[in-house]
Subunit: 187 residues, 2 copies
């Protein structure tokens, strides 16, 4: 049976599809709109979202939420990265970081999986890096072009999906979920 | 019977208390935590919040949400003003506006009132102004010190509660709610 990924973001679906293919997992896309609550932690955001998406579809499904947490900005834009990207963009975030020497940041991801009548399961991943001095690369989406991955001279915007999927926050959360899911299917 | 205002913000409670006193409405404070959803419009945020707060208290009650919408920043920080104030503060918003000539902004408020078993009622208010070149005044809360009210050379941070309550976004939404509420009590 195909595993349902509920998202309105085609970039996310592409990334997760590549990971699913490696596991031989068949992925099905649904664009069903679900509610996201306001919370400082992504885990608290995806738990009710997965539950609601599952209640709407009446089938097992998963959702994913990600955010960029900048140290010097006390975790901004964090869980509101989508809204902040739509309003301020990479340019706005670079302006906020002008003159800032502590450029440490983390991309975090949380996956919520839910089956009808069950409590949701949550899986997380994160990757460390810094805010680049300027946007680089046209790949990825959102803040990818201004996120320089730790120990690499590359932004997420300069990576193919297959490279980003080797260590990205989303790949880690999804891999944790897929491992759990596969173990469970075997049991 | 006292009217229950559910909020964790003591500044809001003080402002609304002053308005309630003028109407002879007895206000009761509850700090019950309720969920706020992510949405670009405050109306969409307060509707489910009022419903949830009412379901938790099993009594009629109201909630209020407000935000600062900056024109040149495409509505940022909008419904996420609380989080943005906690992370970037007035300083961060001023940095984003550095060199920006279009400094127009709006403070908006939405009140959600709900009675057990009923759909929530929503009331709104807004006030125009500009983002000040620098923070002024120690009164109010949040972005009040950097919001210059249209046709006045004063920020909300430089006003007593009674002055702010003459025309603020929150006062307008609350007045609309109180008028409706009083009419209804009479009927």
């Amino acid at each position: 049976m195909a595993l349902i990924f509920v998202t309105s973001n085609r970039h996310k679906f592409e990334e997760v599809s590549e990971l699913a293919a490696r596991h031989g997992i068949e992925l099905e896309h649904r664009g069903t709109p679900y509610i996201e609550i306001q919370a400082d932690n992504l885990e608290d955001v995806v738990r009710p979202s997965a539950q609601q998406a599952c209640a709407l579809l009446k089938q097992p499904c998963f959702v994913e939420d990600a955010g960029l947490f900048v140290q010097a900005l006390r975790g901004f834009p964090g869980p509101y990265s989508n809204f902040v990207f739509r309003t301020l963009g990479n340019e706005g975030l670079l302006k906020l970081m002008a003159g800032e020497t502590d450029r440490r940041a983390e991309f975090r991801s949380a996956v919520g999986y839910c089956e009808p009548g069950q409590r949701p399961e949550v899986f997380t991943g994160k990757v460390k890096g810094t805010i680049a001095p300027e946007a680089r690369g046209m790949r990825g989406f959102g803040f990818d072009p201004i996120f320089l991955v730790e120990n690499m001279d590359k932004t997420f915007g300069e990576m193919e999906i297959s490279e980003k999927n080797k260590f990205s926050h989303r790949a880690q959360a999804i891999e944790a979920f897929f491992s759990w899911y596969e173990q469970r299917e075997k049991a």
